[in-house]
């Protein structure tokens, strides 16, 4: 990289090995990991869950759990060895040299202390008196670009939004001017627009404060955006390491290649072909493997790979890969062949019907759907008169940040939540009762859901066989040999095996658990399945397989999907049409190509530009001002006006709520700005970059 390394690296990890002692047995979870982070460098560690990335971070400052220990190798921070430090020295290291920022800002802050005092404490430890410390705390808040400093200083953590709390945590971490800042999934718990702001902030502060950053994330795009060097971890081993652009553009390890292919990119869609998935599973943490740890999932593996662990081959300037076949890694065989047209599922071109009238009749009609939680002064409006329809056989993607009402809409449709009086829900021309009790068994059968978190959606005391049989018994009315037959069919179609049937959910991996949940949803032969963030709790390599499965099942069973996700890449891959929600209101609805391609609602524009992408630089980011307003007290007029970068100067946005109007055939936008003007504005922004 640069010559800045001259003064010696800030962090040097050499052949690090970390072991957890579980049930009297040593399980190595990090093996032979070596890397260096030079001064002012930003180094990214990427890996799936169980890859050992957080364990490494904890080992650096000796925060390992009681049963964990560094069993080999060395660590040097500014040339000093934290493993050999005494109590006082270690405290000093943690106080002044290394700072950490964790995933959940809410849990990193002391709930009984005002934010200002918590930051000031860092300065008091450094020897300042109380007033001076408070003054410095204010400066820090200014640095992390908090506008309303007075309020935040005197706020308790629960009074801050997630993004605001993470800023406070970052302010605390930087207050001691550490030479190394470790960020462990700092934006994973945040919404896309907030994530983008935090990432910009960190990037800016790094320049300004000359801090060295170790950035840990499962999100490849975030790491690509934030770091100049990356290390890819797999099952506790660093399989590839090098400059970020090289690792992502010219990967030389089959795992990196496979991982990148798992992500839907460059506008890839389900009718063009399935996503590549990495076959097999992550090895059990702590299992000892002879040879290459990735060999059993690698289609390039040869006999040599299974015999001896590959050394780190130099494959470029400061770019190494632990693979015997690193020269052929890029030609890793595809698991899915690209097909054109064959896989077109559902009415792929329905919504493009001439004159805006869809060629296919709707299967679900939603009219003035509202939902208010609570009553009186404390009531919160989660949905405000949403009108839309879902077409037979399509996938409708539902997009929006947390609190936008996506899940409430889905639950109201399913009958799990009672909507307000006056809301109309129709399924296949028949009215749907507000609650589940009023719905006949046929309607229960028609509408099913795949929940976000299979741990929560599957009864952990029941066997897989019981879990999948239950809908067959209840909804399909099967029993005896016909039930067994259908059960086996289902198990095969979600690509599970007979041996899984006797297991309980706790004994399955995340991906398998989600397959059980999908089998349950399809058991009764539904016509519409709600997918509520079905892959957000899963690792990237597993996500691809689940998305493929959902697309295959849709093609086979002709079901309609209501697909909820915050991951726009995933939504784009699977959806025929997109609905964008903000504060319980529908802001945009239209065919996926039009919504993504633009012109689009300014909010959609901001959402799209906030998502970090692996496909090189995209148009300049549209910055959203401020926070998502509270649904308890939504803004007047257009609900988005408080954050809208394209707000009209006439004042109309503040006073009148724009109606949802059809601006193009099948494409509806709720905005005062005329479509031609939007096209011009957004076209200009794209051209500028």
């Amino acid at each position: 990289m640069t010559e800045a390394v001259s003064a010696g690296p800030t962090l040097a990890v050499d052949h690090l090995e970390v072991t957890y002692r579980v049930r009297g047995q040593d399980r190595p979870v990090v093996r032979d990991v070596s890397f260096q982070v030079g001064r002012r460098e930003s180094y990214g560690l990427v890996g799936e869950s169980g890859s050992g990335k957080s364990t490494i971070a904890l080992a650096l400052t000796r925060y390992l759990a009681r049963n964990g220990r560094v069993s080999g190798g060395s660590i040097r921070i500014n040339g000093l060895d934290p493993l050999a430090m005494s109590g006082a020295k270690l405290r000093d290291l943690r106080a002044r040299t290394v700072s950490m920022v964790y995933q959940e800002p809410g849990r990193a802050l002391n709930p009984s202390m005002k934010a200002g005092r918590q930051i000031a404490e860092v300065f008091e430890i450094a020897g300042l008196d109380r007033d001076a410390a408070l003054g410095h705390a204010q400066d820090m808040l200014r640095k992390v670009q908090i506008a309303d400093i007075g309020r935040v200083m005197n706020a308790y953590p629960h009074e801050l939004s997630g993004g605001m709390a993470q800023r406070v945590v970052i302010a605390m971490a930087l207050a001691a001017e550490p030479s190394l800042l470790i960020l462990d999934e700092p934006t994973t718990a945040l919404d896309a627009t907030v994530e983008a702001e935090i990432l910009d902030l960190v990037a800016g502060l790094r320049e300004e404060m000359d801090t060295t950053v170790l950035f840990i994330s499962h999100n490849l795009a975030v790491v690509a955006k934030m770091c100049n060097r990356v290390g890819v971890l797999y099952a506790g081993e660093l399989v590839e390491e090098g400059p970020a652009d090289e690792v992502f553009e010219a990967s030389r390890h089959p795992y990196t290649v496979g991982l990148l292919r798992c992500i839907p990119r460059r506008g890839q869609r389900k009718d063009h072909g399935r996503l590549d998935a990495i076959p097999g599973f992550l090895p059990q943490p702590g299992r000892t493997v002879t040879g290459c740890i990735f060999a059993e999932r690698c289609s390039l593996a040869i006999a040599e790979c299974r015999e001896a662990s590959p050394p780190a081959f130099d494959v470029g300037l400061e770019h190494t890969a632990r693979c015997y076949r690193h020269t052929e890694a890029a030609e890793l065989p595809r698991t899915e062949l690209p097909t054109t047209g064959l896989l077109a599922s559902g009415p792929a071109d329905v919504s493009l019907g001439a004159g805006g009238s869809p060629l296919v009749e709707p299967i679900v009609t939603i009219k003035s759907l509202s939902k208010t939680f609570g009553s009186g002064e404390t009531s919160v409006r989660a949905l405000t008169s949403v009108n839309m329809s879902i077409l037979r056989g399509e996938t409708l993607g539902l997009v929006g940040e947390s609190g936008s009402g996506k899940t409430t809409l889905a639950r109201a449709l399913l009958g799990l939540t009672q909507p307000d009086q006056g809301s109309v829900l129709e399924f296949d021309g028949q009215p749907l009762a507000a609650g589940l009790r009023g719905r006949p068994i046929d309607q229960l059968k028609d509408l099913q859901i795949v929940f976000q978190n299979p741990d929560s959606a599957l009864n952990r005391r029941r066997s897989v066989r019981w879990l999948i049989s239950q809908p067959l018994r209840r909804l399909a009315g099967l029993s005896g040999s016909r039930l067994t037959e259908r059960l086996n069919d289902l198990v095969r179609s979600v690509r599970m095996e007979q041996r899984h049937l006797s297991l309980r959910p706790g004994q399955l991996s995340g991906g398998l658990k989600q397959r059980v949940a999908i089998a349950r949803a399809f058991g009764g032969g539904p016509r519409l399945v709600v997918c509520d963030e079905p892959t957000s709790a899963l690792d990237v390599s597993v996500q691809a397989a689940i998305l493929n499965l959902l697309a295959d099942l849709q093609a086979k069973e002709q079901v309609t999907y209501l697909f909820i996700s915050h991951d726009l890449g995933v939504v784009r891959y699977l959806s025929d049409r997109i609905a964008v929600l903000y504060l319980g209101r529908l802001l945009e609805l239209g065919p996926a190509e039009l919504v993504f391609g633009g012109p689009h609602h300014p909010y959609t524009e901001a959402l799209l530009s906030a998502v970090p992408s692996l496909d090189g630089q995209r148009s300049e980011r549209i910055k959203l001002a401020g926070e998502i307003p509270s649904a308890a007290n939504p803004p007047s007029g257009c609900v988005f006006h408080t954050r809208c970068p394209r707000r009209l100067p006439t004042g109309v946005c503040e006073s009148i709520e724009p109606p949802l109007t059809e601006v193009e055939p099948g494409h509806l936008i709720s905005c005062h700005i005329p479509i031609d003007q939007l096209r011009e504005l957004q076209g200009n922004a794209a051209r500028k970059s």
Binding site: T55, S456, N459
Partner: protein, 292 residues
């Protein structure tokens, strides 16, 4: 409305090692469990085969040998009526080990049903049952027990009902809390979407998941039940003399402590203490294994 986004952290690693079925085998590796279970087993054998084990007839009076201290003929000595204390202690295990578990079981069954209903339905049912539970808890236990026993007359069945009734609200509260945690989970929505009835959801879906809590509650309450039964017997409301009974024997002989006849009180008291302690050891181990 919060959204759990991706990336389960390293916590998942530690969790992956824990396979549920192996948990119960862990119990056998705990010395506290082994000791507790051994003592418990001893008293159970006494309760079942007491008359066969006892060296002498616990009811046989020897008026010539009353109040004799521990000796070769009477290891624990004799009481004021010349009955063999050791035999009475051994046989005395029977009634308390019958009444206390049955009473606890009654309390657990009723408490679980009420707790499930409160936690699952919430709303009005929770409020109404909650008030009833609080009202029962507010009554002075001993007075309720006395009134009941005086009205119905002392018998083993009365004791079971009284102690079960006192335990019901306590167990209901614990179960309700556990059910509330489960109510947050999606598998209940999933069951509702299959058209399952509330009764089925409560007993077939939720109950297996709160069972560990109920098991712990049962063992904890069992210890208290033994105390309660022994106390009521001591006060004369339980097992009636001359049937051998620890509480009753202490009551009959404690007046003679001042005369130096300590063995007549000490050995039944030790029996109660060892049984409760054994139960607590077992309970502790089970709790540790469940929560690990």
């Amino acid at each position: 409305m919060t959204e759990l986004t991706a990336a389960p952290g390293e916590a998942a690693v530690a969790h992956a090692f824990a396979a549920p079925p192996a948990q119960w085998r862990l119990l056998l590796r705990k010395p506290t469990f082994i000791i507790g279970a051994a003592v418990l087993l001893f008293w159970l054998m006494c309760a079942i085969f007491g008359h066969l084990i006892a060296p002498l007839d616990p009811l046989a009076q020897q008026l010539l040998a009353k109040n004799t201290g521990p000796s070769g003929a009477h290891l624990f000595g004799t009481d004021s009526l010349g009955r063999d204390v050791l035999s009475r202690v051994i046989v005395g295990a029977r009634d308390i080990l019958l009444i206390a578990p049955l009473a606890t079981l009654l309390g657990v069954v009723c408490g679980t049903a009420i707790g499930l209903a409160m936690g699952y339905f919430g709303g009005v049912i929770d409020v109404v049952l909650g008030r009833v539970v609080e009202a029962v808890l507010a009554l002075p236990v001993v007075i309720v027990a006395f009134l009941f026993i005086v009205a119905v007359g002392p018998s083993s069945l009365t004791l079971i009902i009284v102690v079960g009734f006192i335990f019901t609200p306590l167990i209901a509260r614990t179960v309700r809390t556990a059910v509330l945690v489960e109510s947050q989970l999606d598998y209940l929505s999933s069951a509702r979407l299959l058209g399952e009835r509330p009764g089925y959801i409560m007993f077939a879906e939720i109950l297996p998941n709160v069972l560990p809590v109920i098991v712990v509650e049962f063992t904890v309450r069992l210890g208290y039940a033994i105390f309660a039964v022994a106390t009521l017997s001591f006060l004369g409301f339980g097992v009636q003399q001359p049937t051998p009974d620890w509480g009753g024997d202490i009551a009959a002989n404690y007046g003679l402590l001042g005369a130096g006849y300590w063995w007549e009180t000490l050995f039944p008291a030790l029996a109660i203490a060892s049984l409760v302690m054994a139960l607590n050891l077992v309970t502790d181990s089970i709790e540790q294994v469940i929560s690990s």
